[in-house]
């Protein structure tokens, strides 16, 4: 029964992540990378890593530093490691991207850029995993949502390990030359562990608690999430062990991925059933915008799962994998994250500003820090844009894709302005905005 305090740098993680998202969207609008270039082209890799590391991993790490202590009711193991981790991740990504740009002929950089960036990123992620891992370790036995996070962290380690090996191969170093075939079959493991294991699995676990909290649904049942967790772990284990075996034997990769995919589908189905159950037993009738938009994001995951099955059945999976990855990264993960930031940022700001004076003077509610009606249109534009962009990829219309991403970028800018307004308390009515004893929060750092 130890309290939780505000993580000072969570807001900084969010800000850095949004900057990467905007940059990636801008590059896609400009026609950089896929689908104008091949899916494995260095230019595409620039965008992919900007989105997966710069945006999604950074925002998730920032959120976990705040959320894991809430989940397990223990303080974060080492708050002082969070800022160095952000610095390592950001610097590592910049160096890695410079490496990809060199590989693509845009820059005349040295060969060590890729392994150098990879090394910095591994160091940054190691700090994150150690910090969150020690926090989880102190709270055993873990509640179900925290087990998802633990599984996600394990996948992050696998993703980073493969990424580090690739950087050695791609940079043409002597060490990397020992595994010339690693890229051929290792890429799918790297991508699945990252997108499926780390990002999706962790987001699922976190959303169990967040959805239950914001829908006022009871999530105390120990069985809740059990099937989704077990099937998900089976999917990850089959994918990784099978994938590694296939890599070694140079055959059977497709079988391993198919089995892992089936287990993943079962996990998603169980997760969908659980969320539906929480929705049905909720005590809060009218849902807030963040919850409604999280459910829209979930619909993208369902759509991606159905499309995957359909493409596998018709034998056209490999030609549509780009569109599917886009739908998972933006329709599902980015949509879910933006929806939850719309609650988390105002909540943290509210706690920081009004916590010290609460009960002593009238204070606004958390919902007074936001104007849902004005934010709704940006969410609509964002989700419509992400689905339109996926469609444009499926029908191979690059110009249409760029237009749709432009709409998403506009929506991201609109929502960023809303987050900034929440930090600035811009939507709080005047008499209650800054009562005596309350201090205006900083935009990018929390007082704790």
């Amino acid at each position: 029964m130890v309290g939780t305090s505000l993580c000072k740098w969570t807001i900084s993680y969010f800000a850095a992540a949004i900057a990467w998202l905007l940059l990636a969207e801008g590059l896609m609008v400009a026609g950089f990378g896929f689908p104008n270039h091949d899916i494995g082209d260095p230019d595409t890799l620039v965008i992919v890593h900007m989105v997966s590391i710069g945006w999604l991993s950074t925002v998730l790490c920032g959120a976990l530093f705040q959320f894991v202590p809430v989940l397990v009711a223990r303080p974060l193991y080492a708050e002082r490691w969070t800022l160095p981790a952000l610095a390592l991740l950001t610097l590592g990504l910049v160096v890695l991207l410079a490496g990809f740009l060199t590989l693509g002929g845009h820059l005349d950089g040295p060969r060590w850029l890729l392994p150098g960036g990879g090394g910095l990123l591994i160091a940054g992620f190691a700090l994150v995993v150690a910090n969150l891992g020690m926090t989880l370790w102190s709270a055993r036995p873990l509640p179900a949502p925290a087990r998802f996070v633990a599984g996600g962290l394990a996948c992050l380690c696998v993703t980073a390990a493969f990424g580090g090996l690739f950087s050695l191969v791609l940079s043409g170093t002597a060490t990397g030359a020992q595994w010339p075939d690693l890229l051929v079959s290792g890429v799918s493991i790297h991508a699945l562990a990252g997108l499926g294991g780390w990002l999706t699995f962790t987001a699922m676990g976190v959303s169990y608690r967040l959805l239950a909290m914001f829908m006022l649904a009871h999530d105390g049942d120990a069985r809740l999430g059990r099937l989704a967790l077990r099937a998900g772990i089976a999917a990850i284990a089959v994918g990784l062990v099978g994938g590694a075996l296939a890599l070694w034997r140079m055959t059977g990769l497709n079988l391993a991925l198919l089995l892992a995919g089936a287990a993943a589908l079962l996990s998603f189905a169980a997760y969908g059933r659980d969320v539906l159950g929480l929705y049905r037993t909720r005590k809060r009738r009218v849902l807030e915008l963040n919850t409604r938009m999280s459910l829209v994001g979930l619909a993208s995951l369902v759509a991606a799962a159905i499309l995957s099955v359909a493409f596998v059945a018709t034998g056209s999976f490999s030609s549509h994998v780009g569109a599917l990855v886009f739908l998972v990264a933006f329709g599902w993960l980015t949509g879910l994250v933006l929806a939850n930031l719309y609650k988390i940022v105002p909540f943290l700001t509210w706690l920081e500003t009004y916590g010290p004076v609460m009960g002593r003077v009238p204070t606004p509610r958390v919902q007074d820090l936001v104007a849902e009606r004005r934010a709704l249109k940006w969410f609509v534009v964002f989700f419509a844009g992400s689905w339109a962009a996926t469609l444009m990829l499926l029908i191979e219309a690059p110009l249409g894709f760029r237009a749709a991403v432009a709409a998403m970028m506009l929506a991201t800018l609109g929502l960023s302005e809303k987050f900034t307004r929440a930090r600035r308390l811009a939507d709080v009515a005047e008499p209650m905005r800054l009562p005596t004893g309350a201090a205006m929060p900083h935009l990018l750092v929390s007082r704790n």
Binding site: T4, A73, G220, G355, P356, G359, R360
Partner: protein
């Protein structure tokens, strides 16, 4: 005087055993108004929250050799009846709560706001009791800043959280 059932967990712990179930079993056997006297080789701090959530206050006394005698007393008023003012300096006998809040149906962070607002109305030394839907992790930080003491724990059915807060005297 309160009647006590004695439970000595020292031999169990020395033998490497697990005393929690034995304490809980002894608790089941208590008659209304009866207390539990526990002998332990260390101060069983985690147990205090568990017992508080079951409606027991405690008094502690250190024995020789670092061992402890803990007396758990039911919260039903027999605490005061058994030993009036004499034990007031011990932190085991909080007065009956003057405010009861049921915050289970409230949207977070409304439970926290209500508790902090209600605490501002209490006189020094008075206590407040609240039922919550989940553990109020962000509230503890604010209670600590304001110098309040608290005891809390999940309900036996795990479907809620019980919290008692005392305003500093």
């Amino acid at each position: 005087m309160t009647a006590f059932i004695d439970v000595d967990v020292r031999p169990i712990l020395r033998a490497g055993g697990e005393p929690f179930s034995i304490i809980m079993a002894a608790l089941e056997r208590l008659e209304p108004g009866e207390g539990l006297r526990l002998y332990a080789p260390f101060k069983p701090v985690p147990l205090f929250d568990v017992m508080a959530s079951k409606g027991f206050a405690y008094r502690e006394a250190e024995l020789e050799g670092g061992e402890w005698e803990i007396r758990f007393l039911p919260y039903d008023g027999s605490v005061e009846a058994a030993e009036p003012a004499s034990a007031a300096s011990s932190n085991g006998d909080w007065p009956e709560p003057v405010v009861h809040l049921d915050n289970r149906e409230l949207d977070p962070p409304e439970p926290m706001v209500r508790i902090l607002a209600a605490l501002e109305q209490l006189a020094p030394g008075q206590t407040l009791f609240a039922l919550l839907g989940r553990e109020p992790v962000f509230l503890f930080r604010e209670l600590e800043r304001r110098g309040h003491q608290w005891r809390g724990g999940f309900t036996p059915q795990k479907d809620g959280y019980q919290l008692t807060v005392r305003v500093p005297a």
